[in-house]
Symmetry: C2
Amino acid sequence: MTGRMDETHDPALTSWVESANGHPQFPIQNLPFGIFSIGDGERRAGVAIGDLILDLAVIAGHLPASAADAVSASTLNALFALPAADRRALRRSLSSILSDAGWRDRITPALHAADDCTLLLPATIGDYTDFYVGIHHAENVGRLFRPDNPLLPNYKWVPIGYHGRASSVRPSGEPVRRPLGQRKAPDADNPVFGPTQRLDYELELGVWVGQGNPLGQPIAIGEAADHIVGLGLLNDWSARDLQAWEYQPLGPFLAKNFHTTISPWVVTVEALAPFRIAQPERPDGDPDPLPYLNDPADRSEGAFAIEMEVLLSSERMRAEGLPPIRLSRGPASNMYWTVAQIVAHHASNGCNLRPGDLLGTGTISGAEAGERGSLLELSEGGKSPIALPSGEERRFLEDGDELTIAATASREGAVPIGFGPCTARILPALS
Amino acid sequence: MTGRMDETHDPALTSWVESANGHPQFPIQNLPFGIFSIGDGERRAGVAIGDLILDLAVIAGHLPASAADAVSASTLNALFALPAADRRALRRSLSSILSDAGWRDRITPALHAADDCTLLLPATIGDYTDFYVGIHHAENVGRLFRPDNPLLPNYKWVPIGYHGRASSVRPSGEPVRRPLGQRKAPDADNPVFGPTQRLDYELELGVWVGQGNPLGQPIAIGEAADHIVGLGLLNDWSARDLQAWEYQPLGPFLAKNFHTTISPWVVTVEALAPFRIAQPERPDGDPDPLPYLNDPADRSEGAFAIEMEVLLSSERMRAEGLPPIRLSRGPASNMYWTVAQIVAHHASNGCNLRPGDLLGTGTISGAEAGERGSLLELSEGGKSPIALPSGEERRFLEDGDELTIAATASREGAVPIGFGPCTARILPALS
């Protein structure tokens, strides 16, 4: 792991951008990439530094030539496609420019207050795939959908995944329209069509694909980490009543594809190098991964020391000036498969990944009650409502609710870094 | 229906491109759009006419101004995004130019022999969705996967679909690499990883989306047909052993996403106007579609008089000079849901469709033995091999096999039109 560390991770490093020093999300050790607009609405590549955003196209002449075109584009797809060495050179250059006060005068005109900017999707998403690596989530949900058979026999062999909808992935901040759809009550003869009554969130990590692979050419597990450019926070909005009625035999469809929220900053694997930790040991009796998914280096540093949390505020809570409540909190290491394993599995049949593809991990729940990553789990399928400080209660999400996923990577000896928010508010269904 | 017919459908219409007259696929009544390259490899929009391809960018100045930019692009996405009225004006213009011999000298330089051209994907596919509307297929396959429960209770209410992989959709002619993957024999303790032993095809129609809808705004059933720009032939290659092991609970994934073949010509809904027929009556006792899927006009002309067939040749058959054998043949009207219904359902929750999205109908099998649209069905799950004229037999596809889907739209009083081939050959798995 230390082989991936360089001077950009030095905990003593500070920036002449004052707000970066001690910033809980975007100190100089982070330097996440994103796409923003300001004023004219043109899409520009940027880097978050403290409370500011650095416009990369404006300073492209000061950056390594290998990255100059990529940082001047209106999406990050070309940047994601760069060889890892070029990405690292870009990071070192940005770190040097933002730490050396000699650059202040030349660079300051390229800095914007983040509050003045709109953050957009970082890349054109060719395909979006959602996995199911949270074993506690799989068990909790499996128990609700299939009480006798919560964890299916393939779960510990196959990193289960399915294709999601690329067109409806939206950056943090865009509201979510409550979807209409078919639902059938267990005791009803026929389904009805109308607004979902069981709107839910799912706490996930998003994985941005860097370099791709040609169709027909798998990615070896030992090389899979090199195909990942960074992580974000992802909310896989779900309509549980639609899902229960539609999902057999071909999986979730309209229950999920009405909206997916992603945090707009791409926290790079380079920034996350100090936070790599060993993948948790498989419980006794679990099978070893098959060879195409089994890599000692991935076992020893395939997980991340990231703490995630989910916050909720209702319209009434906001009207009463009450702060959001935390619904759950837990480590991102509650994943049965690593991000490298899901990449290697995805490409194991020759399926081609492309730069800018987005992979969701699936809901990350922990073993404890306070670590459940969806309302379906927290309310035990709607049976146990959650009390809000406004006197309301929630089984599922109501119109006006605002849901936020936040996360911090932290580890002793490293400066903690954040992901920025992944947040959205629920709009009522169309009548 | 007759409201949609105009002079471009006149059976008496002929072209000064001699090979178009009597051409089984591309008479002047068809005029399908596609993207081709020739020589320099540049992607150009074209129209098939007889044995030739008309380069649209070269003659853009002679076409309606509303379509001039769209036909000069390197994909058809902009053409698909045009209002239907503009597409129809373009069609009338092309029909007039190719039928009036006064244009011959000016247009001839823009014509290429199709044999000299390479046909490419017609559009950048934002999302690819596969449906399951072939009720006989659903019953046949359901019986193999779930003998006690072949057709699930949601089937006659919900046009079942799932998201497929956009990145691995390939035009006719590109070979298919046999995928590797996990499979588990019913009597084995553990799965193994290796080349699929049950490689299969699926006979489908592909539906190209024209104008899209904004996220959060459903498409009404009465307007759904206007969002479809045309049809193609689609082969949803499937690895049945991978599928059986992976598909629960989230549906097919690696069993399908290694390759999908689409015929490169987009046969427009305008060209298909004479072949619209009533949707077959639902059997007695089946529920009426819910209102959001129920439209009298769609019932009376939501299906198409298209006859589809599947042809197979093995490497040995070709070496021995034997022609391909027909595996199945049947009408495309064996669909429980119309293409308008799948579009309306897809967008019913607000999911946004975009121009160039591709929808597969799902395997179209008929009730008769000769109408089964996959080897899984034809060989009854591998139990009943199919004899080839070379003395070989097939349960599933072997390396070197070449599979072709072909189709013709025909109806009394109309000139039949075709789709061009949807064909590919199987390459051995990577060792």
